[in-house]
């Protein structure tokens, strides 16, 4: 069971003066239970790719396969695919419409025919997952919250449906750095607890290095790299060619290496790098 794209092309406004190749021959594979990053500069096709995953867009050529089912414009197929793949769009708080947070989070569950008890349970669980106390928040209006809280409610409104794949398009855009990390940590815990596959579209390479084991790199509508995040960031030339920048930790590690510092660390995510730096320093101190 997985999400698979086979040679997918997508052309916007095919045959018009604005005709535009958004995706070209995209083939990729997303494993169950993975935390996958989708990165690429602005206009590289990330958002277009995401909209293929639950049948909001249909490929011009090639197949999108979700759990052995080819996504196509058919009501029952779409209902099944959307039941499996949830998408949190950019600035998801713009979709709020309900009077209370409970109603907002329950919207998706009701659409999928959850019973009253199931709705109740899912809403409470989703709110706890995103770190908001259900007792305090559920009866408030979603419009009176702070930006960070709104974002969390919006994420809760998608994960409450209990989908197997959760796609998030820039979920941390416009949040302060503490909230950013907290939101991503909540997603990671959701992944571990419920074996949900998390697909994160992001411009923030530090986030990607920290949370995503796997990464898909898009460049002008094609897949420029697919594999382990660490392997991608070690290839500084490729990172540069795809218009991205190295995460802080990788930059620091390279700088240390280049100036011939006795502190040598493997390039990896911030946490692990701090640990290995600590080890390194204590080794030097010991010598």
């Amino acid at each position: 069971m997985s999400i698979e794209l086979k040679n997918v092309d997508y052309i916007y406004d095919s045959g018009e003066p604005f005709e535009y190749f958004a995706l070209r021959g995209i083939s990729l594979h997303i494993d169950d239970g993975a935390f996958v990053g989708i990165v690429g500069r602005t206009g590289s096709g990330k958002s277009t790719l995401v909209e293929h995953l639950n049948g909001l867009l249909f490929s011009t050529r090639g197949d999108v396969v979700v759990d052995d089912e080819i996504v196509r414009n058919d009501r029952t197929v779409l209902a099944r695919v959307r039941r499996r793949v949830g998408i949190v769009f950019q600035y998801p708080e713009d979709q709020f419409f309900a009077e209370t947070i409970f109603e907002e989070v329950a919207f998706g569950c009701r659409n999928y025919g959850f019973s009253k008890e199931q709705v109740d349970e899912s809403v409470h669980k989703a709110m706890s997952t995103v770190g908001l106390d259900p007792k305090r928040f559920l009866s408030l209006s979603p419009f009176q919250l702070s930006g960070g809280e709104q974002r969390r409610v919006a994420i809760a409104s998608v994960i409450a449906m209990g989908q197997k794949y959760i796609v998030l398009d820039e979920p941390t855009a416009g949040l302060d750095s503490g909230t950013k990390l907290a939101v991503l940590a909540e997603l990671e815990s959701l992944r571990q607890a419920a074996n949900v596959t998390v697909i994160l579209v992001s411009h923030n390479m530090d986030e990607v290095a920290e949370f995503c084991k796997q990464v898909v790199v898009l460049d002008e509508g094609t897949v420029a790299f697919q594999g382990s995040t660490d392997a991608f960031f070690r290839d500084a030339d490729l990172v540069d060619r795809t218009g991205l920048e190295l995460p802080e930790s990788y930059r620091l590690a390279r700088a240390l290496k280049e100036c011939g510092s006795p502190l040598t660390v493997n390039e990896c995510s911030t946490d692990r790098m701090l640990n290995s730096l600590r080890l390194c320093v204590s080794d030097l101190g010991g010598a």
């Binding site: 959307r82 713009d94 919207f107």
Partner: protein
């Protein structure tokens, strides 16, 4: 995508033909004159000068014909309905009858005439909006209204309101699509089920749209004030436009076609 696609009437088809490059005010005045011409004609044959001009205009504009066909689609129902009514309910000499239905020679003639009238009106306006960007068009409208400001019509403000409205039509369509995508991803079924269910399914789209539109209006007002905008103060234009030689052709062509129709009606 789907929404902005079905919105052809009043859509711009960018290009670089002479029709595109000529002045919006000239095109707007010509369009109005041609529409008057269409209503002046009393017989189908009298449309000939306008049809000729339109054929030349469409040809020169290099806008594909299917773009015009798409512009006709929204009024297809209206066309069919009026043509049917004319065919079946015009009294006169019957040329075909079945039970209580009868088709008259006069009915057919009138139906053809009305058909031409509706199609011509649409094609003329599609040619205008396809070859002129909305911003140019509102500038032209404000120029047209300018003489009225002497008698107290706030023409500058009307033009501003129009150009802001025009400017935000695509933005709001895009916003609508964005919200629809988000709600559909949350399992919303839009436009399905009974009438009540269908109406209710629009609430999750309309409320976010209202909220964001008001916020946008607020932001815009602040941004305009921050850049020194004051109501009623004189303003200049970034793209000042001057009369060009092709404008004269459009003027003369229109004048010829419309006076052709009038003369035909009066003397033939």
């Amino acid at each position: 995508m789907a929404l902005s696609r079905s919105f052809v009437l009043g859509q711009h088809y960018p290009g670089n033909s002479v029709v595109h490059r000529s002045g919006a005010l000239v095109k707007l005045v010509s369009t109005i004159a041609l529409m008057v011409g269409v209503f002046v004609a009393t017989k189908t044959a009298q449309y000939t000068p306008i049809v000729l001009l339109l054929v030349v205009g469409i040809g020169v504009s290099r806008i594909p014909l299917r773009f015009f066909a798409r512009g006709l689609k929204p009024i297809l129902f209206l066309i069919v309905l009026t043509v049917m009514v004319q065919i079946f309910f015009t009294p006169g000499t019957a040329i075909w009858r079945f039970w209580f239905v009868r088709v008259t020679r006069e009915g057919l003639g009138l139906a053809g005439f009305i058909l031409c009238r509706l199609v011509l009106l649409t094609l003329v306006s599609v040619l205008l909006t396809a070859s002129t960007s909305p911003i140019e068009l509102t500038d032209a409208v404000s120029d047209l209204l300018k003489p009225l400001s002497r008698i107290g019509v706030p023409s500058a403000e009307i033009a501003l309101v129009m150009s802001i409205a025009m400017r935000f039509v695509p933005t709001i369509l895009e916003e609508t699509e964005r919200i629809i995508r988000a709600q559909v991803s949350r399992g919303a079924r839009i436009g399905e089920g009974s009438l009540v269910v269908r109406m209710k399914s629009f609430i999750p789209i309309l409320i976010p749209l209202f909220v964001s539109s008001f916020r946008r209006a607020d932001d815009l007002a602040i941004a305009m004030e921050a850049r020194g905008f004051r109501v009623g103060s004189p303003r200049t234009r970034y793209h000042a436009r001057h009369f060009q030689s092709f404008d004269a052709f459009i003027f003369l062509g229109t004048a010829a076609a419309v006076s052709g129709v009038i003369l035909w009606r009066l003397f033939l």
